[in-house]
């Protein structure tokens, strides 16, 4: 069976600078895959290539369909929600308006209603702050809002760019738990970019380690965790 998301020999860059030199990876339906590596290895660029934020060569397929030359809006409508670097919160809008934008293209009104209830069950703090400007939220709350909004898009695949960045360890734990819950109850596949390799490997089933735009190591997360040499050379713990 082919994977939900497949990247084959993807090259891309910004202007003259090339960032990815042939990345090949796959995310299975309903799986959690982590994408690890140092700063500047090309993790964020990989996610941006998937949702059409940068031009690329090679092949990217989602559910068997090529994403070549597809504009971001159309890719997103296929069922990919991308929580970008910096979370993509619309700080001029309220918490509620941010959530509404997640669901604004959906036609299944009753299901949207149910999803709102679940979102508020996972993140009760968002219910309390519904009417407030999103700019008043703390970093952790903004990350929760970003994940909640991504969930309301009812995706088949979530791309999460460093959800742990700048957050307290306890907050990170709870957000990761919820990502796991979403993955299990809704069968949403997750491609997780992380600097915190230890946490990411605990959560994911498969992992890829990028090094200067190439996949240096890949395999089952449990195996990578077990290999001391891999951990020391690539993951830094």
């Amino acid at each position: 069976m082919s994977a939900l998301l497949e990247l084959e020999d993807v090259h891309c860059g910004y202007g003259q600078t090339s960032v990815l030199h042939g990345v090949t990876l796959a995310v299975p339906e309903g799986g959690i895959v982590s994408l690890l590596g140092a700063n500047g290895a090309g993790k964020t660029t990989t996610l941006r290539a998937i949702t059409g934020g940068v031009r690329w060569l090679g092949e990217i397929r989602f559910a068997g369909r090529s994403l070549r030359r597809m504009p971001t809006e159309d890719i997103v409508s296929l069922g990919i929600s991308h929580v970008p670097e910096g979370r993509g919160i619309l700080t001029e809008l309220t918490v509620d308006e941010n959530l509404k934008l997640g669901a604004h293209k959906r036609k299944d009104g009753a299901a949207v209603h149910k999803d709102y209830d679940r979102v508020f069950e996972y993140f009760p703090v968002l219910r309390d702050r519904r009417r407030l400007s999103a700019s008043t939220l703390s970093g952790g709350e903004q990350q929760m809002l970003a994940v909640a909004r991504a969930m309301l898009m009812k995706p088949r695949l979530m791309l999460l760019d460093e959800p742990s960045l700048g957050l307290a360890p306890l907050v990170v734990r709870s957000i990761f738990e919820i990502i796991r819950t979403i993955n299990q109850t809704d069968h949403v596949a997750v491609l997780l970019v992380e600097q915190n390799a230890r946490l990411a490997l605990e959560l994911s089933t498969d992992a890829y380690v990028l090094e200067v735009g190439r996949v240096a190591v890949s395999g089952k997360s449990a195996d990578l965790q077990g290999q001391d040499s891999v951990r020391r050379s690539y993951l830094g713990y």
């Binding site: 949702t51 504009p71 997103v76 993509g88 001029e92 509404k100 934008l101 293209k105 898009m153």
Partner: protein, 291 residues
């Protein structure tokens, strides 16, 4: 006292006109960080269309909404044809493009409709009505009412509808909006269409007071700039409040202090004063970007 109230009422009427055009400027500024110097000319052209429809026997109250609809379509077309190719160009390029557009529309109006001033009759009489001892003309009152309805409609559209929500999102965060499935490029066109329609209201309202000719809006746009700058160039509410303040101030200062000939200078003084003392205006966001 009575005369003062009359001056205030007629100031509010001009203020409503300035507010509509200022709101049009704000809508486009918000969508793409650009001051549209062609806004006044677009409004003038729309007013000529209304005039043509009415002089062909169409009822004013049918011609008015029909013109707004045509102005909307025209705004969308201008964005698609003229602005889209230079969408990602530096702001200065865009400013020059809108200046060129202003000249072009002005010339086109002269070519199609001529430079002879036309008397644009209003369905509202200039007779006055006594309100609490002060006299206000039906025309002033109708201008105030129409402006209020249009501004309220825009407010409701932006704040209470999904399309308004996506418009605001696309204006502030284009990248993040694309990731939410919003067609940012079409939102720009929609913004231009709305701005064009709102601006057309100011043209149709002002035409019976001035005379309709291709240069009709060239002073009005200065007042609209003053209103937008005073309110904070990125704030729709600011445009409305700014418009009313500019309208009343200009009227009072013109009547009691400097005389009618210097009214435009008052508007320019407001622009300079605000930019020096409070560059963000009354309701504008601080001009600080977090990078």
């Amino acid at each position: 006292m009575q005369e003062l109230i009359q001056q205030v009422v007629s100031g509010l009427a001009s203020g409503g006109i300035f507010a509509s055009l200022a709101l049009a400027l704000v809508l486009i500024y918000n969508a793409m960080g650009l001051v549209n110097f062609a806004q006044g000319e677009m409004a003038m052209f729309a007013t000529f269309i209304a005039y043509t429809l009415i002089s062909h026997g169409l009822n004013y109250f049918i011609a008015f909404p029909l013109t707004l609809g045509l102005a909307f379509v025209g705004g969308v077309l201008i964005e698609r044809v003229v602005i889209r190719p230079v969408e990602r160009a530096p702001v200065l390029t865009l400013v020059i493009v809108t200046l060129g557009l202003a000249t072009l529309i002005n010339g086109a109006a002269g070519f199609f409709f001529g430079y002879t001033p036309n008397y644009f009759s209003s369905p509202f009489s200039t007779h006055t009505v006594n309100i609490l001892g002060a006299f206000a003309s039906y025309q002033d009152l109708s201008v105030i009412a129409v402006s209020a309805v249009v501004l309220l409609a825009i407010f409701l559209l932006l704040q209470r509808t999904t399309i308004g929500l996506t418009l605001r999102a696309a204006a502030h965060h284009p990248e993040a909006s694309r990731l939410l499935g919003i067609r940012v490029s079409w939102m720009l066109a929609l913004g231009w269409g709305l701005a064009s329609a709102v601006g057309a209201v100011s043209g149709i309202m002002v035409a019976p007071i001035l005379l309709l000719e291709p240069n009709m809006m060239q002073t009005i746009i200065i007042y609209a700039f003053a209103a937008a700058v005073l309110g904070g160039i990125d704030s729709p509410l600011g445009a409305v409040v700014g418009g009313l303040i500019v309208g009343v101030t200009v009227n009072l200062v013109g009547a009691y202090v400097v005389g009618g000939d210097l009214e435009l200078a008052v508007a320019l003084a407001i622009i300079v004063g605000v930019l020096v003392l409070k560059p963000n205006g009354l309701f504008g966001r601080a001009a600080v970007r977090i990078v």
